[in-house]
């Protein structure tokens, strides 16, 4: 593995390492056309996630956040690139070829919390069934041990007393409670890595804060590494120590959260930040410098993905390939010719 882009020397300490991940989806180009087009949903994404760290993945809708997350837990097969995961013996291992017992072990240690608390639970199964499912399919413990473990996990996510929730059905719970169940299901196996795909975006503010705090607390206590996917920069600020900003399948900026939010380097990050409304009626925001909206990245031209909307683009950006994600000083990575 000698891919240099964005992989620090500390890679071997990483819990999960994405190496040049790419996912292309074919789209039909029209009737009678043989040459197929591709949506470049994720295109050369690399990063490392340390144990116990929370990395935020932010960006507009359709930029490839979910696809990236799904590839990390092997729910989607990458078209290119690798996902390396620290296995039991502490070595980074390519998850693409896992089978049988090692795959089960990976499934035990890498979990995902899905975006939608309403659709991510089978309506015909009790909360106990749902949370115990990983234990059941992994054949961990007998009935009473599973029961103990599920109860513990439910109280850990704040569903107390667990006995009053165990035998209810999803439709008998509120949105916030369901989201807690979804988190409990991901945590019941005591994973070391969790992909959290917008776990709070469907929830009300008042409930949202509680879930965010809960996840932070659990990350600290259990040393879980999170990949936290969100389109809300403010949420990312409270959840993540580092963030990666994605645009059309590429990471365009990555660094410490506070740093990135205070001193964004990439023009897209700047635009994204200045578009976030402020809950202060007396504050004024500058007009946005970028126009238009994201389009699907179908067969993108070999130039900066942000070129069409970029306020500072010039001829160099037009005539050169997409800029690499490189160090712009103080550990900040950005992909821009002009930054």
């Amino acid at each position: 593995m000698n891919v240099s882009v964005g992989i620090p020397a500390s890679a071997s300490l990483a819990l999960v390492s994405a190496v040049n991940l790419a996912k292309r989806y074919p789209v039909s180009a029209g009737w009678f056309r043989r040459d197929r087009s591709f949506i470049h949903a994720v295109d050369g994404v690399s990063f490392d996630l340390m144990p116990g760290e929370t990395l935020g993945l932010v960006g507009e809708s359709g930029c490839g956040k979910t696809t990236t997350g799904r590839m990390l837990v092997r729910l989607t097969e990458p078209t290119d690139g690798q996902v390396l995961f620290k296995n039991q013996s502490g070595d980074l291992e390519d998850i693409a070829h896992l089978k049988g017992a090692p795959l089960k072990d990976f499934r035990r240690r890498a979990q995902m919390v899905f975006q939608d608390p309403y659709e991510s639970m089978n309506p015909r199964r009790t909360i106990f069934d749902t949370v115990a499912e990983p234990l059941h399919v992994q054949k961990i413990g007998d009935h009473s041990e599973r029961f103990e473990r599920v109860s513990e996990t439910l109280s850990m996510v704040g569903l107390t007393p667990p006995a009053s929730f165990l035998f209810r059905f999803p439709h008998e719970l509120s949105g916030g409670q369901r989201q807690r169940v979804a988190i409990a299901r991901a945590l019941v196996m005591e994973p070391s890595f969790v992909v959290a795909d917008e776990p709070t975006s469907m929830l009300d503010i008042s409930i949202r804060t509680g879930i965010m705090q809960l996840m932070n607390e659990l990350a600290d206590r259990l040393g879980i590494g999170y990949l936290y996917i969100t389109h809300d920069l403010a949420v990312a600020r409270y959840m993540c120590s580092r963030i990666a900003v994605m645009y059309l399948g590429k990471i365009v900026e990555m660094g410490d959260t506070e740093d990135v939010l205070q001193y964004p380097v990439h023009p897209y990050t700047k635009a994204l930040l200045s578009a976030v409304p402020v809950p202060d009626p007396e504050a004024t925001r500058d007009a946005l410098s970028i126009k238009g909206s994201v389009s699907a990245p179908v067969d993108p031209l070999p130039r900066c993905r942000f070129y069409d909307r970029c306020p500072i683009a010039d001829d160099y950006c037009r005539d050169n390939d997409h800029p690499p994600l490189e160090d712009k000083g103080a550990g900040r990575l950005a992909a821009c010719h002009k930054a």
Binding site: Q177, I205, G210, A234, P277, A283, S293, V294
Partner: protein, 325 residues
């Protein structure tokens, strides 16, 4: 801003009758909107924001009951109008951008034709005039005129939302109700639309009711804000006042639960408990089970109105007790 009110709502009550019981979705709401003013309604999901909007337009489902109250638009009480008379008022004087409006365009007709149809239905203009008007409207919401002859699926989400806004503006209504018009959109698109709506509203001196659960959006768009909890307005006042010195503990809690990208990173506080069940409201102040300031009175009796100039709230224990009783 003039003080002459365009819309005055008095003691509005609208309940849904369901098999499980009566849902008090709008439970005694009063407010007024002045010409050119924009009023924001904030509150958590299910507190009755959309229900107010639907009641104002009298677009209610069969199981809804308008229990009491008056809705006076330019001196006409809408509650007394027949459905035919009401139809003449809708679009013309009061129009609406619905929640999830993006999907309310008919996929089989060109967007321009749909607007023309709306215009002709209100005999605002027809034929060539109507086309001219559509051009104006597209210009107003910054849509390229070539899109007039395109179908909804050729539009992006943000463009569709703009087309819907153009449609709502078609008859130059006195007041426009926007129910979460940008909730499904990305921040950048949202930013464009918010700015356009504000500009249009100012230039036409139109009034607006803007519904959202996002405190930040309301802060940017609205002059006055009403905070709703469990079918009632619990706090009302000029946006700057309400945000700087909230009176109601719920408003305060909402604001400190709201993460911000800018400024100091303050600790977020959590509101305990669950949103209220409108079928079975707690006695006294509906917020008391979740309120950090709740006292015995809160649990038993309806809270009084605390008035500070044109800023008021209903609470036994106002958070910011500047008044010094």
């Amino acid at each position: 801003m003039t003080t002459d009110p365009v819309l005055v709502v008095e003691d509005l009550k609208m309940h849904y009758v369901t098999r499980a019981g009566t849902v008090r979705a709008v439970d005694g709401v009063s407010f007024a909107v002045a010409r050119g003013q924009s009023l924001g309604l904030v509150g958590e999901s299910g507190c009755g924001k959309s229900s107010i909007a639907m009641t104002l337009l009298k677009l209610l489902p069969d199981n809804a009951r308008l229990v009491s109250g008056s809705i006076i638009l330019n001196g006409v009480d809408l509650t007394t109008l027949s459905e035919d008379q009401m139809r003449a008022h809708r679009w013309d004087r009061i129009s609406m951008v619905f929640q999830a409006a993006m999907n309310s365009l008919d996929p089989v007709y060109r967007v321009g034709d749909q607007i023309i149809e709306a215009l002709e239905a209100h005999s605002a203009s027809a034929g060539r005039d109507a086309m001219e008007r559509v051009r104006e409207l597209f210009d107003l919401v910054s849509l390229d005129p070539t899109y007039i002859r395109r179908y909804p699926h050729e539009y992006s989400g943000g463009m569709r939302q703009r087309a819907i806004i153009a449609m709502a503006l078609a008859c130059e209504p006195d007041i426009i109700i926007a129910d979460e018009p940008t909730t499904a959109l990305d921040v950048i698109v949202q930013d464009h639309i918010l700015r356009e709506m504000q500009a249009i509203q100012r230039s036409l001196n139109m009034s607006m009711i803007y519904i959202s659960h996002d405190m930040a959006v309301i802060a940017e768009v609205c002059d006055v804000v009403g905070v709703m909890y469990a079918g009632k307005l619990v706090e009302f006042g000029p946006t700057t006042e309400v945000y700087a010195r909230p009176i109601h503990p719920y408003t305060k809690a909402l604001m400190s639960a709201f993460p911000s990208v800018r400024g100091e990173k303050h600790d977020l506080t959590t509101l305990p408990g669950e949103p209220p069940d409108l079928l079975d409201l707690p006695a006294g102040c509906a917020f008391h089970p979740r309120c950090a300031y709740a006292t015995d009175e809160c649990r038993t009796s309806i809270p009084p109105t605390v008035q500070r100039g044109d800023h008021w709230a209903t609470c036994w224990n106002p958070v910011d007790d500047l008044g010094g009783e």
